[in-house]
Amino acid sequence: MRTMVPEKPKGFAWLVVGAAALWMGLAILLPLVSVFVEAFRQGAAAYFASFQDPDAQAAIKLTLQVALVAVPLNALFGLAAAWLIAKFEFAGKGLLLTLIDLPFSLSPVISGLVWVLVFGANGWFGPLLDQLGVRIIFTYTGILLATILVTFPFVARELIPLMQAQGTDEETAAVTLGAGGRDIVWRVTLPNIAWALVYGVLLCNARAMGEFGAVSVVSGHIRGLTDTMPLHVEALYNDYNFVAAFAVASLLAGLALVTLAVKTLLEWRFSSELASGARR
Protein backbone atom coordinates (compact mmCIF):
# COMPACT_ATOMS: atom_id res chain seq x y z
CA MET A 1 0.00 0.00 0.00
CA ARG A 2 1.18 3.48 -0.86
CA THR A 3 -0.01 6.56 0.98
CA MET A 4 -0.50 10.08 -0.27
CA VAL A 5 2.50 12.38 -0.19
CA PRO A 6 1.66 15.99 0.79
CA GLU A 7 1.59 18.11 -2.33
CA LYS A 8 2.05 21.81 -2.97
CA PRO A 9 -1.39 23.43 -2.69
CA LYS A 10 -2.86 25.09 -5.75
CA GLY A 11 -6.29 26.45 -6.68
CA PHE A 12 -8.98 24.78 -4.58
CA ALA A 13 -6.32 23.47 -2.18
CA TRP A 14 -5.45 27.00 -1.09
CA LEU A 15 -9.07 27.43 -0.08
CA VAL A 16 -8.81 24.39 2.22
CA VAL A 17 -5.49 25.53 3.68
CA GLY A 18 -6.84 29.07 4.10
CA ALA A 19 -9.96 27.86 5.89
CA ALA A 20 -7.90 25.67 8.23
CA ALA A 21 -5.44 28.47 8.99
CA LEU A 22 -8.22 31.01 9.58
CA TRP A 23 -10.07 28.59 11.85
CA MET A 24 -6.97 27.80 13.91
CA GLY A 25 -6.07 31.47 14.07
CA LEU A 26 -9.49 32.40 15.37
CA ALA A 27 -10.01 29.54 17.81
CA ILE A 28 -6.47 29.03 19.11
CA LEU A 29 -3.91 31.67 18.17
CA LEU A 30 -6.01 34.75 18.90
CA PRO A 31 -6.99 33.75 22.47
CA LEU A 32 -3.38 32.75 23.17
CA VAL A 33 -1.94 36.03 21.86
CA SER A 34 -4.58 38.05 23.69
CA VAL A 35 -3.43 36.62 27.04
CA PHE A 36 0.01 38.17 26.60
CA VAL A 37 -1.30 41.40 25.08
CA GLU A 38 -3.71 41.96 27.98
CA ALA A 39 -1.00 41.07 30.50
CA PHE A 40 1.30 43.77 29.10
CA ARG A 41 -1.46 46.31 28.42
CA GLN A 42 -0.10 48.71 31.04
CA GLY A 43 3.55 48.00 30.34
CA ALA A 44 6.20 45.67 31.63
CA ALA A 45 6.41 47.36 35.04
CA ALA A 46 2.73 46.71 35.79
CA TYR A 47 3.17 43.16 34.52
CA PHE A 48 6.03 42.37 36.86
CA ALA A 49 4.41 44.24 39.75
CA SER A 50 1.59 41.69 39.59
CA PHE A 51 3.97 39.07 40.92
CA GLN A 52 4.95 41.19 43.94
CA ASP A 53 1.50 40.60 45.38
CA PRO A 54 1.89 38.13 48.29
CA ASP A 55 -1.38 36.41 47.32
CA ALA A 56 -0.06 35.76 43.81
CA GLN A 57 3.14 34.34 45.26
CA ALA A 58 1.17 32.16 47.66
CA ALA A 59 -0.93 30.88 44.73
CA ILE A 60 2.18 30.01 42.71
CA LYS A 61 3.68 28.24 45.72
CA LEU A 62 0.48 26.27 46.40
CA THR A 63 0.23 25.16 42.75
CA LEU A 64 3.83 23.91 42.87
CA GLN A 65 3.24 22.14 46.20
CA VAL A 66 0.17 20.35 44.83
CA ALA A 67 1.86 19.25 41.58
CA LEU A 68 4.97 18.16 43.48
CA VAL A 69 2.94 15.54 45.36
CA ALA A 70 0.15 14.68 42.89
CA VAL A 71 2.38 14.02 39.87
CA PRO A 72 4.86 11.60 41.55
CA LEU A 73 1.97 9.68 43.17
CA ASN A 74 0.21 9.27 39.83
CA ALA A 75 3.50 8.35 38.17
CA LEU A 76 4.06 5.64 40.77
CA PHE A 77 0.53 4.40 40.18
CA GLY A 78 1.09 4.46 36.42
CA LEU A 79 4.22 2.33 36.79
CA ALA A 80 2.54 -0.20 39.07
CA ALA A 81 -0.59 -0.44 36.91
CA ALA A 82 1.40 -0.74 33.68
CA TRP A 83 3.68 -3.43 35.17
CA LEU A 84 0.61 -5.35 36.30
CA ILE A 85 -1.36 -5.04 33.06
CA ALA A 86 1.46 -5.39 30.54
CA LYS A 87 3.50 -8.15 32.17
CA PHE A 88 0.84 -10.49 33.57
CA GLU A 89 -2.27 -12.25 32.32
CA PHE A 90 -5.12 -12.30 34.82
CA ALA A 91 -8.91 -12.20 35.03
CA GLY A 92 -10.53 -8.77 35.23
CA LYS A 93 -7.89 -6.92 33.22
CA GLY A 94 -10.44 -5.32 30.91
CA LEU A 95 -12.43 -3.98 33.84
CA LEU A 96 -9.27 -2.58 35.41
CA LEU A 97 -8.39 -0.77 32.16
CA THR A 98 -11.87 0.73 31.97
CA LEU A 99 -11.71 1.94 35.57
CA ILE A 100 -8.30 3.55 35.02
CA ASP A 101 -9.73 5.55 32.10
CA LEU A 102 -12.88 6.53 34.00
CA PRO A 103 -11.64 9.88 35.42
CA PHE A 104 -11.16 11.13 31.83
CA SER A 105 -14.91 11.03 31.27
CA LEU A 106 -15.79 12.92 34.47
CA SER A 107 -16.59 16.62 34.45
CA PRO A 108 -13.89 18.43 36.47
CA VAL A 109 -16.65 19.76 38.71
CA ILE A 110 -17.78 16.20 39.45
CA SER A 111 -14.17 15.25 40.27
CA GLY A 112 -14.30 17.92 42.96
CA LEU A 113 -17.88 17.22 44.03
CA VAL A 114 -17.18 13.58 44.92
CA TRP A 115 -14.58 14.62 47.52
CA VAL A 116 -17.06 17.00 49.14
CA LEU A 117 -19.59 14.16 49.27
CA VAL A 118 -17.04 12.00 51.10
CA PHE A 119 -15.15 14.48 53.30
CA GLY A 120 -17.29 17.67 53.41
CA ALA A 121 -19.11 18.96 56.49
CA ASN A 122 -22.17 16.91 55.48
CA GLY A 123 -20.01 14.20 53.89
CA TRP A 124 -19.77 10.52 54.74
CA PHE A 125 -16.73 11.00 56.96
CA GLY A 126 -17.35 14.68 57.72
CA PRO A 127 -18.62 14.31 61.30
CA LEU A 128 -15.92 11.76 62.16
CA LEU A 129 -13.14 13.98 60.81
CA ASP A 130 -14.65 16.91 62.67
CA GLN A 131 -14.34 15.02 65.96
CA LEU A 132 -10.73 14.19 65.16
CA GLY A 133 -10.07 17.81 64.28
CA VAL A 134 -9.02 16.95 60.73
CA ARG A 135 -10.13 19.11 57.82
CA ILE A 136 -9.82 18.02 54.21
CA ILE A 137 -12.27 20.12 52.22
CA PHE A 138 -11.17 23.79 51.91
CA THR A 139 -7.57 22.78 52.69
CA TYR A 140 -4.42 21.71 50.85
CA THR A 141 -5.39 18.03 51.25
CA GLY A 142 -8.71 18.50 49.43
CA ILE A 143 -7.03 20.38 46.58
CA LEU A 144 -4.44 17.60 46.37
CA LEU A 145 -7.08 14.84 46.25
CA ALA A 146 -9.10 16.62 43.55
CA THR A 147 -5.94 17.17 41.48
CA ILE A 148 -4.90 13.53 41.85
CA LEU A 149 -8.31 12.34 40.66
CA VAL A 150 -8.30 14.62 37.61
CA THR A 151 -4.77 13.66 36.54
CA PHE A 152 -5.09 10.01 37.59
CA PRO A 153 -4.91 8.28 34.15
CA PHE A 154 -2.22 10.39 32.43
CA VAL A 155 0.95 8.37 33.17
CA ALA A 156 -0.79 4.97 33.17
CA ARG A 157 -2.37 5.69 29.78
CA GLU A 158 1.03 6.49 28.31
CA LEU A 159 2.88 3.48 29.78
CA ILE A 160 0.33 0.66 29.40
CA PRO A 161 0.17 0.46 25.57
CA LEU A 162 3.94 0.84 25.24
CA MET A 163 4.76 -1.85 27.81
CA GLN A 164 2.14 -4.13 26.29
CA ALA A 165 3.78 -3.73 22.89
CA GLN A 166 7.22 -4.42 24.40
CA GLY A 167 6.04 -7.70 25.92
CA THR A 168 7.88 -9.73 28.56
CA ASP A 169 10.79 -11.23 26.59
CA GLU A 170 13.54 -8.99 27.95
CA GLU A 171 12.36 -9.27 31.55
CA THR A 172 12.03 -13.05 31.24
CA ALA A 173 15.56 -13.25 29.85
CA ALA A 174 16.80 -11.21 32.81
CA VAL A 175 15.09 -13.63 35.24
CA THR A 176 16.69 -16.59 33.45
CA LEU A 177 20.08 -14.94 33.88
CA GLY A 178 19.42 -14.68 37.60
CA ALA A 179 18.40 -11.03 37.95
CA GLY A 180 16.28 -10.05 40.95
CA GLY A 181 13.20 -7.83 40.89
CA ARG A 182 15.09 -4.61 41.54
CA ASP A 183 17.64 -5.29 38.79
CA ILE A 184 14.89 -6.06 36.29
CA VAL A 185 13.06 -2.81 36.99
CA TRP A 186 16.12 -0.55 37.08
CA ARG A 187 18.20 -2.12 34.32
CA VAL A 188 15.65 -3.57 31.90
CA THR A 189 12.17 -2.06 32.22
CA LEU A 190 12.85 1.56 33.20
CA PRO A 191 15.43 2.20 30.43
CA ASN A 192 12.90 0.85 27.93
CA ILE A 193 10.13 3.20 29.02
CA ALA A 194 12.12 6.24 30.17
CA TRP A 195 10.94 8.66 27.47
CA ALA A 196 7.34 7.52 27.65
CA LEU A 197 7.47 8.10 31.41
CA VAL A 198 8.83 11.61 30.86
CA TYR A 199 6.07 12.21 28.31
CA GLY A 200 3.33 11.04 30.66
CA VAL A 201 4.71 13.02 33.61
CA LEU A 202 4.89 16.14 31.42
CA LEU A 203 1.23 15.96 30.42
CA CYS A 204 0.17 15.00 33.94
CA ASN A 205 2.02 18.00 35.36
CA ALA A 206 0.52 20.45 32.87
CA ARG A 207 -2.98 19.34 33.80
CA ALA A 208 -2.20 19.28 37.54
CA MET A 209 -0.95 22.87 37.52
CA GLY A 210 -3.75 24.16 35.29
CA GLU A 211 -6.74 22.35 36.82
CA PHE A 212 -9.59 24.71 37.63
CA GLY A 213 -13.04 23.10 37.96
CA ALA A 214 -12.19 20.32 40.39
CA VAL A 215 -10.03 22.43 42.72
CA SER A 216 -12.55 25.27 42.53
CA VAL A 217 -15.12 23.02 44.24
CA VAL A 218 -12.88 21.88 47.12
CA SER A 219 -10.70 24.95 47.70
CA GLY A 220 -13.02 27.39 49.48
CA HIS A 221 -11.25 30.27 47.69
CA ILE A 222 -9.33 31.67 50.64
CA ARG A 223 -6.84 34.12 49.14
CA GLY A 224 -3.24 33.57 50.02
CA LEU A 225 -4.18 30.22 51.54
CA THR A 226 -6.21 27.89 49.30
CA ASP A 227 -6.18 29.70 45.94
CA THR A 228 -4.07 27.91 43.32
CA MET A 229 -2.85 29.86 40.28
CA PRO A 230 -5.94 29.22 38.12
CA LEU A 231 -8.21 30.11 41.06
CA HIS A 232 -6.21 33.28 41.70
CA VAL A 233 -6.69 34.21 38.02
CA GLU A 234 -10.45 33.91 38.55
CA ALA A 235 -10.38 36.00 41.73
CA LEU A 236 -8.36 38.79 40.09
CA TYR A 237 -10.56 38.74 36.99
CA ASN A 238 -13.72 39.01 39.08
CA ASP A 239 -12.15 42.00 40.86
CA TYR A 240 -11.71 43.69 37.43
CA ASN A 241 -7.97 43.54 38.05
CA PHE A 242 -7.40 42.45 34.46
CA VAL A 243 -3.67 43.15 34.12
CA ALA A 244 -2.86 41.05 37.17
CA ALA A 245 -5.31 38.31 36.12
CA PHE A 246 -3.72 38.04 32.68
CA ALA A 247 -0.22 38.30 34.15
CA VAL A 248 -0.78 35.18 36.28
CA ALA A 249 -2.61 33.60 33.32
CA SER A 250 0.42 34.30 31.12
CA LEU A 251 2.56 32.11 33.41
CA LEU A 252 0.08 29.26 32.93
CA ALA A 253 -0.06 29.89 29.18
CA GLY A 254 3.75 29.85 29.13
CA LEU A 255 3.73 26.54 30.97
CA ALA A 256 1.31 25.15 28.35
CA LEU A 257 3.55 26.34 25.50
CA VAL A 258 6.70 24.88 27.05
CA THR A 259 4.84 21.62 27.66
CA LEU A 260 3.76 21.47 24.02
CA ALA A 261 7.25 22.33 22.78
CA VAL A 262 8.84 19.55 24.84
CA LYS A 263 6.03 17.17 23.83
CA THR A 264 6.58 17.92 20.13
CA LEU A 265 10.33 17.48 20.62
CA LEU A 266 9.84 14.11 22.32
CA GLU A 267 7.44 12.94 19.61
CA TRP A 268 9.89 13.97 16.92
CA ARG A 269 13.06 12.68 18.53
CA PHE A 270 11.84 9.52 20.32
CA SER A 271 8.65 8.61 18.42
CA SER A 272 9.56 4.91 18.37
CA GLU A 273 9.96 4.87 22.16
CA LEU A 274 6.60 6.48 22.89
CA ALA A 275 3.22 4.84 22.85
CA SER A 276 1.79 7.90 21.13
CA GLY A 277 4.30 7.37 18.32
CA ALA A 278 2.82 3.96 17.72
CA ARG A 279 -0.70 5.42 17.79
CA ARG A 280 0.01 8.15 15.28
Partner: protein, 281 residues
Amino acid sequence: MALTLSLPRLREPSVLPGFWPALGFTVAYLSLIVLIPLAALIARPWEHGLADFWRTVTDSRVLAALRLSFGAAFIASLVNLVMGLITAWALVRYDFPGRRLLDAMVDVPFALPTAVAGIALATLYAPNGWIGALLAPLGVKVAYTPLGVLVALIAVGLPFIVRSVQPVLQDLDAEIEEAALTLGAGRWRRIRTVVLPAVAPALVTGFSLAFARAVGEYGSVIFIAGNMPLRSEIAPLLIVIKLSQFDYAGAAAVGLAMLVLSFAALLVINIGQALLLRRGR
Protein backbone atom coordinates in the same frame (compact mmCIF):
# COMPACT_ATOMS: atom_id res chain seq x y z
CA MET B 1 -3.39 -31.47 41.20
CA ALA B 2 -6.36 -32.48 39.11
CA LEU B 3 -8.50 -30.28 41.31
CA THR B 4 -6.42 -27.13 40.78
CA LEU B 5 -6.42 -27.67 37.01
CA SER B 6 -10.18 -27.93 36.89
CA LEU B 7 -10.63 -24.58 38.64
CA PRO B 8 -10.99 -21.57 36.35
CA ARG B 9 -7.59 -19.96 36.12
CA LEU B 10 -7.59 -16.42 37.48
CA ARG B 11 -3.97 -15.80 36.63
CA GLU B 12 -1.61 -17.24 34.04
CA PRO B 13 1.68 -18.44 35.54
CA SER B 14 4.64 -16.14 35.00
CA VAL B 15 8.30 -16.16 36.02
CA LEU B 16 8.30 -12.39 36.53
CA PRO B 17 8.18 -11.06 40.08
CA GLY B 18 5.96 -8.39 41.55
CA PHE B 19 2.44 -9.49 40.62
CA TRP B 20 0.99 -9.26 44.12
CA PRO B 21 2.59 -5.96 45.16
CA ALA B 22 1.62 -4.35 41.84
CA LEU B 23 -1.93 -5.69 42.11
CA GLY B 24 -2.24 -4.59 45.74
CA PHE B 25 -1.02 -1.06 45.12
CA THR B 26 -3.01 -0.60 41.91
CA VAL B 27 -6.28 -1.78 43.42
CA ALA B 28 -5.79 0.11 46.69
CA TYR B 29 -4.92 3.40 44.95
CA LEU B 30 -7.73 2.99 42.43
CA SER B 31 -10.25 2.34 45.21
CA LEU B 32 -9.09 5.26 47.32
CA ILE B 33 -8.91 7.83 44.53
CA VAL B 34 -11.64 6.74 42.11
CA LEU B 35 -14.00 4.06 43.42
CA ILE B 36 -14.90 5.31 46.92
CA PRO B 37 -15.53 8.92 45.78
CA LEU B 38 -17.60 7.69 42.81
CA ALA B 39 -19.58 5.42 45.11
CA ALA B 40 -20.61 8.58 46.98
CA LEU B 41 -21.83 10.13 43.73
CA ILE B 42 -24.00 7.08 43.07
CA ALA B 43 -25.25 6.62 46.65
CA ARG B 44 -25.95 10.14 47.85
CA PRO B 45 -28.53 11.58 45.40
CA TRP B 46 -31.18 9.29 46.96
CA GLU B 47 -30.75 10.11 50.60
CA HIS B 48 -33.94 12.21 50.77
CA GLY B 49 -35.88 9.64 48.77
CA LEU B 50 -36.59 8.89 45.15
CA ALA B 51 -39.24 11.60 44.85
CA ASP B 52 -36.78 14.24 46.03
CA PHE B 53 -34.22 13.11 43.47
CA TRP B 54 -36.82 13.30 40.72
CA ARG B 55 -37.96 16.76 41.85
CA THR B 56 -34.34 17.97 41.73
CA VAL B 57 -33.50 16.74 38.23
CA THR B 58 -36.84 17.84 36.73
CA ASP B 59 -36.65 21.33 38.25
CA SER B 60 -36.94 23.85 35.41
CA ARG B 61 -33.60 25.47 36.23
CA VAL B 62 -31.80 22.11 36.25
CA LEU B 63 -33.49 21.02 33.03
CA ALA B 64 -32.53 24.29 31.33
CA ALA B 65 -28.91 23.86 32.45
CA LEU B 66 -28.75 20.24 31.25
CA ARG B 67 -30.33 21.21 27.94
CA LEU B 68 -27.77 23.99 27.47
CA SER B 69 -24.76 21.83 28.42
CA PHE B 70 -25.77 18.91 26.21
CA GLY B 71 -27.23 20.98 23.36
CA ALA B 72 -24.29 23.37 23.09
CA ALA B 73 -21.85 20.45 23.38
CA PHE B 74 -23.64 18.71 20.51
CA ILE B 75 -23.66 21.75 18.23
CA ALA B 76 -20.05 22.64 19.10
CA SER B 77 -18.95 19.11 18.25
CA LEU B 78 -20.83 19.26 14.94
CA VAL B 79 -19.05 22.51 14.05
CA ASN B 80 -15.74 20.92 15.00
CA LEU B 81 -16.61 17.84 12.94
CA VAL B 82 -16.65 19.94 9.76
CA MET B 83 -13.82 22.32 10.61
CA GLY B 84 -11.72 19.53 12.14
CA LEU B 85 -11.98 17.46 8.99
CA ILE B 86 -10.96 20.45 6.85
CA THR B 87 -8.04 21.20 9.18
CA ALA B 88 -6.87 17.58 9.23
CA TRP B 89 -7.18 17.42 5.45
CA ALA B 90 -5.04 20.55 5.02
CA LEU B 91 -2.41 19.26 7.47
CA VAL B 92 -2.12 15.82 5.84
CA ARG B 93 -2.53 16.57 2.15
CA TYR B 94 -0.84 19.88 1.51
CA ASP B 95 2.71 21.00 2.00
CA PHE B 96 2.35 24.70 2.78
CA PRO B 97 4.60 27.10 4.71
CA GLY B 98 3.85 26.93 8.44
CA ARG B 99 2.35 23.46 8.28
CA ARG B 100 4.40 22.08 11.17
CA LEU B 101 3.59 25.06 13.37
CA LEU B 102 -0.11 24.74 12.60
CA ASP B 103 0.09 21.03 13.40
CA ALA B 104 1.71 21.70 16.78
CA MET B 105 -0.86 24.42 17.53
CA VAL B 106 -3.74 21.94 17.30
CA ASP B 107 -2.80 20.60 20.75
CA VAL B 108 -2.93 23.99 22.50
CA PRO B 109 -6.47 23.49 23.89
CA PHE B 110 -5.29 20.20 25.45
CA ALA B 111 -2.54 22.01 27.36
CA LEU B 112 -3.93 25.48 28.01
CA PRO B 113 -5.59 25.69 31.46
CA THR B 114 -9.34 26.22 31.09
CA ALA B 115 -9.41 29.33 33.26
CA VAL B 116 -6.85 30.98 30.97
CA ALA B 117 -8.88 30.11 27.86
CA GLY B 118 -11.99 31.30 29.71
CA ILE B 119 -10.80 34.82 30.55
CA ALA B 120 -9.17 35.19 27.11
CA LEU B 121 -12.37 34.27 25.26
CA ALA B 122 -14.52 36.43 27.54
CA THR B 123 -12.24 39.41 26.86
CA LEU B 124 -12.08 38.79 23.09
CA TYR B 125 -15.85 38.47 22.68
CA ALA B 126 -16.91 41.17 25.16
CA PRO B 127 -18.66 44.09 23.38
CA ASN B 128 -15.40 46.09 23.57
CA GLY B 129 -13.11 43.13 22.79
CA TRP B 130 -11.20 42.46 19.55
CA ILE B 131 -13.90 40.23 18.09
CA GLY B 132 -16.87 41.50 20.10
CA ALA B 133 -16.33 45.04 18.78
CA LEU B 134 -16.51 43.72 15.19
CA LEU B 135 -19.72 41.82 15.88
CA ALA B 136 -21.46 44.53 17.91
CA PRO B 137 -22.39 46.72 14.87
CA LEU B 138 -23.98 43.62 13.30
CA GLY B 139 -26.14 43.22 16.39
CA VAL B 140 -24.47 39.92 17.33
CA LYS B 141 -23.82 39.43 21.03
CA VAL B 142 -21.60 36.50 21.96
CA ALA B 143 -20.27 37.15 25.45
CA TYR B 144 -22.78 36.65 28.29
CA THR B 145 -25.24 34.77 26.02
CA PRO B 146 -25.74 31.06 25.15
CA LEU B 147 -23.71 31.81 21.99
CA GLY B 148 -20.73 32.46 24.28
CA VAL B 149 -21.11 28.97 25.75
CA LEU B 150 -20.99 27.58 22.21
CA VAL B 151 -17.84 29.55 21.32
CA ALA B 152 -16.05 28.27 24.43
CA LEU B 153 -17.07 24.65 23.78
CA ILE B 154 -15.92 24.87 20.15
CA ALA B 155 -12.51 26.14 21.26
CA VAL B 156 -12.20 23.33 23.80
CA GLY B 157 -13.23 20.49 21.47
CA LEU B 158 -11.20 21.48 18.41
CA PRO B 159 -8.22 19.10 18.78
CA PHE B 160 -10.23 15.91 19.30
CA ILE B 161 -11.60 15.63 15.74
CA VAL B 162 -8.33 16.70 14.07
CA ARG B 163 -6.28 14.20 16.06
CA SER B 164 -8.74 11.35 15.44
CA VAL B 165 -9.01 11.89 11.69
CA GLN B 166 -5.38 12.79 10.92
CA PRO B 167 -3.84 9.27 11.17
CA VAL B 168 -6.65 7.75 9.06
CA LEU B 169 -6.21 10.35 6.33
CA GLN B 170 -2.48 9.71 6.46
CA ASP B 171 -2.90 5.96 5.92
CA LEU B 172 -5.49 6.28 3.18
CA ASP B 173 -4.43 4.20 0.20
CA ALA B 174 -3.42 6.56 -2.60
CA GLU B 175 -4.14 3.96 -5.25
CA ILE B 176 -7.86 3.77 -4.55
CA GLU B 177 -8.16 7.50 -4.94
CA GLU B 178 -6.08 7.49 -8.09
CA ALA B 179 -8.21 4.69 -9.47
CA ALA B 180 -11.30 6.82 -8.84
CA LEU B 181 -9.53 9.70 -10.58
CA THR B 182 -8.67 7.52 -13.59
CA LEU B 183 -12.26 6.38 -13.79
CA GLY B 184 -13.23 9.99 -14.21
CA ALA B 185 -14.69 10.71 -10.78
CA GLY B 186 -14.77 14.44 -10.02
CA ARG B 187 -13.39 15.99 -6.83
CA TRP B 188 -16.65 15.90 -4.84
CA ARG B 189 -17.48 12.41 -5.97
CA ARG B 190 -14.01 11.25 -4.93
CA ILE B 191 -14.39 12.83 -1.52
CA ARG B 192 -17.91 11.48 -1.05
CA THR B 193 -17.33 7.92 -2.23
CA VAL B 194 -13.70 7.25 -1.28
CA VAL B 195 -12.53 9.60 1.47
CA LEU B 196 -15.61 10.14 3.62
CA PRO B 197 -16.49 6.45 4.10
CA ALA B 198 -12.89 5.75 5.13
CA VAL B 199 -12.69 8.52 7.73
CA ALA B 200 -16.29 8.21 9.00
CA PRO B 201 -15.50 5.94 11.98
CA ALA B 202 -12.64 8.22 13.04
CA LEU B 203 -14.93 11.24 12.70
CA VAL B 204 -17.43 9.57 15.02
CA THR B 205 -14.68 8.75 17.55
CA GLY B 206 -13.48 12.34 17.50
CA PHE B 207 -17.02 13.62 17.80
CA SER B 208 -17.75 11.54 20.88
CA LEU B 209 -14.48 12.58 22.56
CA ALA B 210 -15.16 16.25 21.88
CA PHE B 211 -18.77 15.89 23.01
CA ALA B 212 -17.85 14.14 26.27
CA ARG B 213 -15.30 16.82 27.06
CA ALA B 214 -17.65 19.69 26.19
CA VAL B 215 -20.57 18.39 28.27
CA GLY B 216 -18.57 18.60 31.49
CA GLU B 217 -16.57 21.72 30.62
CA TYR B 218 -16.55 24.40 33.30
CA GLY B 219 -13.51 26.70 33.41
CA SER B 220 -13.52 28.01 29.86
CA VAL B 221 -17.30 28.54 29.90
CA ILE B 222 -18.21 30.35 33.11
CA PHE B 223 -16.35 33.58 32.29
CA ILE B 224 -17.97 34.08 28.88
CA ALA B 225 -21.42 32.63 29.67
CA GLY B 226 -22.84 35.35 31.91
CA ASN B 227 -24.40 32.50 33.94
CA MET B 228 -28.01 33.68 33.88
CA PRO B 229 -30.38 31.06 35.34
CA LEU B 230 -32.61 29.39 32.71
CA ARG B 231 -30.65 31.07 29.92
CA SER B 232 -26.87 30.76 30.00
CA GLU B 233 -26.22 28.63 33.09
CA ILE B 234 -24.43 25.33 32.45
CA ALA B 235 -25.03 22.13 34.45
CA PRO B 236 -21.58 21.98 36.15
CA LEU B 237 -22.14 25.50 37.49
CA LEU B 238 -25.41 24.38 39.02
CA ILE B 239 -23.49 21.70 40.94
CA VAL B 240 -21.18 24.39 42.30
CA ILE B 241 -24.16 26.55 43.30
CA LYS B 242 -25.94 23.68 45.06
CA LEU B 243 -22.76 22.79 46.95
CA SER B 244 -22.37 26.38 48.12
CA GLN B 245 -25.90 26.04 49.61
CA PHE B 246 -24.80 22.78 51.32
CA ASP B 247 -27.38 20.89 49.22
CA TYR B 248 -25.17 17.80 48.85
CA ALA B 249 -27.97 15.50 47.67
CA GLY B 250 -29.06 18.04 45.04
CA ALA B 251 -25.50 18.56 43.78
CA ALA B 252 -24.96 14.79 43.63
CA ALA B 253 -28.29 14.39 41.77
CA VAL B 254 -27.26 16.86 39.06
CA GLY B 255 -23.83 15.23 38.83
CA LEU B 256 -25.30 11.76 38.50
CA ALA B 257 -27.83 12.96 35.91
CA MET B 258 -24.99 14.46 33.85
CA LEU B 259 -23.00 11.23 34.08
CA VAL B 260 -25.93 8.99 33.11
CA LEU B 261 -26.99 11.25 30.23
CA SER B 262 -23.49 11.46 28.79
CA PHE B 263 -22.97 7.69 29.04
CA ALA B 264 -26.32 7.21 27.28
CA ALA B 265 -25.31 9.66 24.54
CA LEU B 266 -21.93 7.95 24.10
CA LEU B 267 -23.64 4.57 23.94
CA VAL B 268 -25.90 5.79 21.12
CA ILE B 269 -22.87 7.22 19.30
CA ASN B 270 -20.96 3.94 19.74
CA ILE B 271 -23.85 1.89 18.38
CA GLY B 272 -24.05 4.25 15.40
CA GLN B 273 -20.33 3.80 14.85
CA ALA B 274 -20.64 0.00 14.97
CA LEU B 275 -23.39 0.13 12.33
CA LEU B 276 -21.20 2.41 10.24
CA LEU B 277 -18.27 -0.01 10.47
CA ARG B 278 -20.45 -2.98 9.55
CA ARG B 279 -21.77 -1.15 6.49
CA GLY B 280 -18.23 -0.21 5.49
CA ARG B 281 -17.21 -3.85 5.27
